[in-house]
Amino acid sequence: MEDFAIVDLYWARDERAIYESDAKYGRMLHSLSYSLTSSNEDTEECVSDTYLAAWNNMPEDRPNYLGAYLSKIVRRLSINRFRAEHRQKRGGGAERLIDELTECIPDTWDVTADFENGRLRSVLNSFIGSLSEQKRNVFVLRYFCSKSVSDIAYQMGFSEGKVKTILHRTRLELKKLLEEEGLPI
């Protein structure tokens, strides 16, 4: 079923919307959530909560890309679940991705300020939009979809080495951009 048709079901308060969403995006959402929580139980709850959140948010929201919309919700929920349950622990999918992203942080950047005023998101969107299609897809698959390097390589038809190189160079480019933005200390 097309995305617009499923969204129409949400708007019509037709419970088939949940069924159709799960049929089309359930596997992707489970995969994304599990990569962050590393727990089947947590994954099931996060995916269920995602459909509930979508149901509650629509109608008001009418997303053009339902898969991306649901992915954002499950990602948010999964990160929160991971932090709540692994606050004292190390390791796990999200932890590894966050460690990689430390390469992007300029030494003199007070990120908190820019996070609170929304500027960070704006800079990120500009940065991702400026990337080549190949780099953008790889970056988003890694840091939004939380896919492993090998899964990205398989999906894109690249070697794992190429994926790692793309990610490393993109992180450095992001760091350079954040430095050039001249963000306050």
């Binding site: 992707m28 997303p63 053009n64 890309y65 898969g67 991306a68 919309y69 992915s71 954002k72 990602r75 948010r76 990160i79 999200a94 991705l97 966050i98 460690d99 992203l101 430390t102 992007c104 942080i105 030494d107 003199t108 950047w109 007070d110 990120v111 908190t112 996070f115 960070l120 998101r121 990120l124 969107n125 991702i128 939009g129 299609e133 953008r136 897809n137 790889v138 988003v140 698959l141 840091y143 939004f144 979809c145 390589a153 398989y154 999906q155 894109m156 038809g157 690249f158 070697s159 190429k162």
Partner: protein
């Protein structure tokens, strides 16, 4: 604040707010046709395996072709000499016929050959005199001759003074002077023929060894 880890967490969170179109594009991105890296590796491995097989088989092919070239040269030289003298082509001086002719009456003249007695034989007959001779072959000798007989070099319009046959003992009859094929396998009789191939040096040498074992 210079806590890189905490800053990275914020960054990671904010990546969750990027434009939906970027997310949708990445999720639906697939290799754009052509061959995946992994498939390319598989193909390369298959090609390498075929190449290695070809390399290992090359010596056998080279040997065969070398024999063929050498035989070609010998026949061409013979042919050119004969042509220059306006005489019909002949295998009178062909090595195998020479070899067998040289045995003279070393071996007994036979009458009708028994082709069904279960005993493999090499039989040859002088066309002019009609005298026929035979040598019994062991099973291994037959197997070796059977292997060597398949590599004769094709030739044309060659007359011969001798007919040569290999008999398997079960009625089957072939000639080292004919191309090894189903159509050239006789059954139950020693047949006349016009030579099609020149036997290889390996076969001639092997038959020479057999002859030596019987004398």
């Amino acid at each position: 604040m210079r806590d890189a880890k905490r800053a990275a967490e914020y960054l990671f969170d904010e990546i969750g707010g990027i434009d939906d179109s970027y997310i949708a594009a990445a999720q639906s991105a697939r290799r754009s046709g052509g061959v995946t890296f992994r498939r390319a590796i598989s193909i390369a491995a298959a090609v390498a395996a075929v190449f290695m097989i070809a390399v290992l088989a090359m010596p056998a092919l080279v040997t065969r072709n070398f024999d063929k070239v050498q035989s070609d040269d010998a026949v061409n030289a013979e042919t050119s000499v004969n042509n220059s003298e306006s005489k019909p082509d002949t295998q009178l001086n062909a090595p195998l016929e020479q070899l067998l002719a040289a045995t003279g009456d070393m071996f007994s003249v036979i009458g009708e050959a028994n082709l069904f007695d279960g005993r493999a034989k090499l039989i040859w007959q002088d066309r002019q005199s009609g005298k026929r001779y035979e040598i019994l072959l062991t099973r291994s000798q037959l197997a070796q001759i059977d292997k060597l007989i398949k590599h004769g070099r094709r030739t044309e319009n060659i007359e011969s003074e001798m007919l040569i046959w290999v008999c398997y003992g079960d009625g089957r009859v072939v000639s080292p002077c004919l191309e090894y094929s189903e159509g050239n396998v006789g059954y139950g009789s020693l047949f006349d023929y016009l030579p099609e191939v020149v036997p290889t040096e390996e076969l001639i040498n092997y038959i020479d060894i057999i002859i030596g074992q019987h004398t």
